[in-house]
């Protein structure tokens, strides 16, 4: 009999396939990357909990064979906080879209980063609301067209990396679907990092963002990721004008000196219990 590729061990393929995603979407590549990294790190599947909110990328947990929690719009991080606090040994991974993490869930994003709770947030940024049909997102570039910005977007977009850095996240990286090997490297570091880790992955939504913005071919969108990506080191030498429309990739912070939140709490428990003994 034909032996199935190992990735099938991590997929709920008997029950759930095909997926809801459009062909040419970047989310499939990201799902593959998550699985490959979890596998390469040798994590026990029982010891991985994948949590998401609502949106196209938030459907990833439905298809993968971990403990999975597909929650409400924007709230994946507080759910993850609860899981991690009760079971600090658990590898807790959150996948969230740009709308999910930066609009409705923006408050939770900054507070999870501030606490430095040991959760990895994979932020799948496709610059648009895909699941609801192409509305403007907090990451949509100025002048881009969306179904709720038919005359062009006038809202300045968020920079998730800067937001995470200033909120206290201790691991912050950005990559793209095109640079999938680099993405996997960042995910590998993030999953092993003690503390809050953000990996923003620039993804493509050819069906909505692409079609509305004269780039309906997924290949063109992926190639534009290739062309526009600038490594952090190189970006430092470029002017603001030159950086316009570019995607700065790389590891922006990797700080292992800060105590992770559940560790702090364990210390607190110890302190309280020692005091009580006297």
């Amino acid at each position: 009999m034909h032996k199935l590729p190992e990735v099938y061990d991590y997929l709920r393929w008997r029950k759930r396939f095909p997926t809801v995603w459009c062909s040419g979407c970047g989310i499939g590549s990201i799902t593959g990357a998550i699985i490959r990294v979890v596998r390469s790190l040798g994590f026990d599947k029982d010891n991985v909990t994948l949590i998401s909110g609502i949106g196209c990328s938030s459907r990833i947990p439905i298809y993968v064979d971990f403990n999975t929690l597909h929650t409400t719009h924007g709230r994946a991080l507080p759910f993850a906080t609860g899981v991690k606090l009760v079971n600090p040994e658990m590898n807790v991974i959150v996948v969230s879209g740009d709308g999910d993490a930066l609009a409705i869930g923006g408050n939770h994003f900054i507070h999870a980063a501030r606490r430095n709770i040991g959760v990895t947030l994979i932020l799948v940024n496709n610059s648009i609301y895909g699941m609801t049909g192409g509305q403007v997102a907090p990451t949509t570039p100025i002048d881009a067209i969306a179904h709720t910005a038919p005359y062009g977007n006038i809202d300045p977009p968020f920079d998730a990396v800067q937001l995470a850095l200033s909120s206290g996240a201790t691991f912050v990286a950005r990559s793209t679907v095109y640079h999938i090997i680099q993405t996997e490297n960042y995910l590998k570091k993030a999953f092993q990092h003690k503390g809050f880790a953000l990996v923003e992955i620039i993804s493509q939504c050819p069906v909505l963002f692409g079609r509305l913005n004269k780039m309906p071919d997924p290949v063109d969108m992926i190639m534009s990721q290739k062309e526009n990506a600038v490594n952090l080191v190189k970006a430092k030498k470029m002017t603001e004008e030159e950086l316009k429309g570019k995607i700065i990739t790389g590891i922006f912070r990797e700080d292992n000196s800060k105590v992770e939140y559940t560790e702090s709490y364990a210390h607190l428990i110890q302190r309280v219990q020692n005091q009580n003994e006297f």
């Binding site: 709920r12 029950k15 759930r16 599947k45 029982d46 010891n47 909990t49 949590i51 947990p61 439905i62 064979d65 971990f66 403990n67 999975t68 929690l69 597909h70 929650t71 409400t72 709230r75 991080l77 507080p78 759910f79 993850a80 906080t81 609860g82 899981v83 991690k84 606090l85 009760v86 079971n87 040994e89 658990m90 408050n107 939770h108 507070h111 709490y265 607190l268 428990i269 309280v272 219990q273 009580n276």
Partner: protein, 387 residues
């Protein structure tokens, strides 16, 4: 003379607020995770939990808002800990979407709502029972809620334990409806010994992992999804799902998902219902009340009984599911029923739904943030008698 610190048989005695009694009850019930956000008049519960939980190795966290608080305790419960939050009106409103999530994914949690006046910011430091209906219909969609209500400090302790037991037994959110008066009033509290507590623990699966079906009812129509990390990997989603936990669009599966979260509670309502009767044997008039309003009603019936007015009281401990049949039976021979409550009339609606038209149903309602006074109830009864 100060109270002795223990009863004759060695039970610790405290003189505490309702909110403090709630903390004692939660700890006794086995609550080991609390996430909350400060809000008057419930904050003493969060304060108490932040003090007590680390002592016993539990975890407290103050989240960024109430939405995050309820999300965190659902996550905590999914990871296996008995989990609770406490709030009041505005916070309870913010929690509603995720309370609905807990109903559909069938994860047990306890929500304490120390009610204050509303709508909006309302009356933060005054009492009210105006979330009676929100506790039943607060989140969108079809579901069946469990809400219980104490009327004394001892009952706050006992019923906080009940709330955890009900949550675990029926794998569902349970709402403890207190009000500002019950939360802040001080009374005697007698703590139970650990060996006297009858605690319900999480019902864990016994089948091999490959046979596991998370939403196939294991016992008595209730399914108990396994805590994460035990080897039972399955899908938890707020989408309507089949018994394996996967989203479904199939008509029969949609119906069966919705019916299962209703039937597990409705079928066992006799087991859930609790109420207390006073002078109901020969009554011609019946008062129905809960929480602090019931305290006024108790006083009122004593006064009226002394004047030979045949009035009785049903003090509801279970608000939802509404004890319809017991009330129908008890009220059958009465001339009039009075529903005493601290709001503009909420509990009166299910009472109207249940009773035949020939019985007069009269609301005794106070909504200025002050407790109902026995006189107000007496006046209403007298007006009806001498009308």
């Amino acid at each position: 003379m100060p109270l002795p610190r223990t009863t004759a048989d060695g039970h610790p005695i405290m003189f505490v607020q309702g909110n403090e009694a709630c903390v004692q009850g939660a700890i006794a019930a086995g609550c080991r995770f609390f996430a909350g956000y400060p809000i008057t008049p419930s904050s003493e519960i969060a304060e108490g939990m932040s003090r007590e939980l680390p002592k016993i190795g539990g975890t407290f966290i103050q989240m960024e808002d109430e939405i995050a608080s309820i999300a965190a305790i659902i996550g905590g419960s999914a990871a296996g800990a008995k989990s609770m939050t406490a709030t009041s009106g505005p916070g309870f409103s913010l929690m509603q979407e995720n309370i609905g999530y807990a109903y559909i994914v069938e994860i047990p949690i306890v929500i304490i709502n120390v009610q204050r006046g509303g709508p909006s910011t309302g009356l933060p430091t005054k009492l009210s029972q105006s979330d009676t209906m929100q506790a039943r219909w607060g989140t969108h969609g079809d579901y069946t809620a469990i809400a219980i209500a104490p009327s004394s400090i001892q009952e706050v302790y006992d019923m906080t334990i009940d709330a955890f037991n009900l949550a675990e037994k029926y794998s569902t959110p349970v709402i403890l409806l207190m009000d500002e008066l019950i939360g802040h009033m001080r009374e005697k509290l007698i703590l139970k010994h650990d060996c006297e507590l009858e605690l319900r623990e999480r019902c864990l699966p016994e089948v091999p992992t490959e046979w596991y079906v998370p939403y196939k009812s294991q016992t008595n129509l209730v399914s108990h999804p396994a805590p994460f990390g035990m080897g039972y990997r399955y899908s938890v989603t707020g989408l309507i799902h089949d018994t394996t936990g996967f989203p479904t669009q199939i008509s029969a599966e949609i119906k069966s998902n919705l019916e299962s979260i209703r039937n597990k509670i409705i079928t066992h309502r006799q087991d859930i219902w609790k109420w207390q009767e006073y002078y109901t044997e020969d009554m011609k008039y019946l008062i129905i009340a809960y929480g602090s309003a019931a305290r006024a009603a108790r006083d009122a019936i004593e006064t009226m009984r002394a004047k030979r007015i045949k009035v009785g009281l049903i003090e509801l401990k279970t608000i939802w599911p509404f004890p319809d049949n017991p009330i129908k039976k008890l009220a059958y021979h009465t001339k009039a029923v009075f529903v005493a409550e601290n709001n503009m009339g909420q509990l009166i609606h299910p009472v109207r739904e249940v009773l035949p038209e020939r019985i007069d149903i009269i609301g005794v309602q106070r909504y200025d943030g002050r407790p109902l006074e026995p006189m107000e109830i007496i006046r209403a009864v007298k007006e009806e008698i001498y009308a």
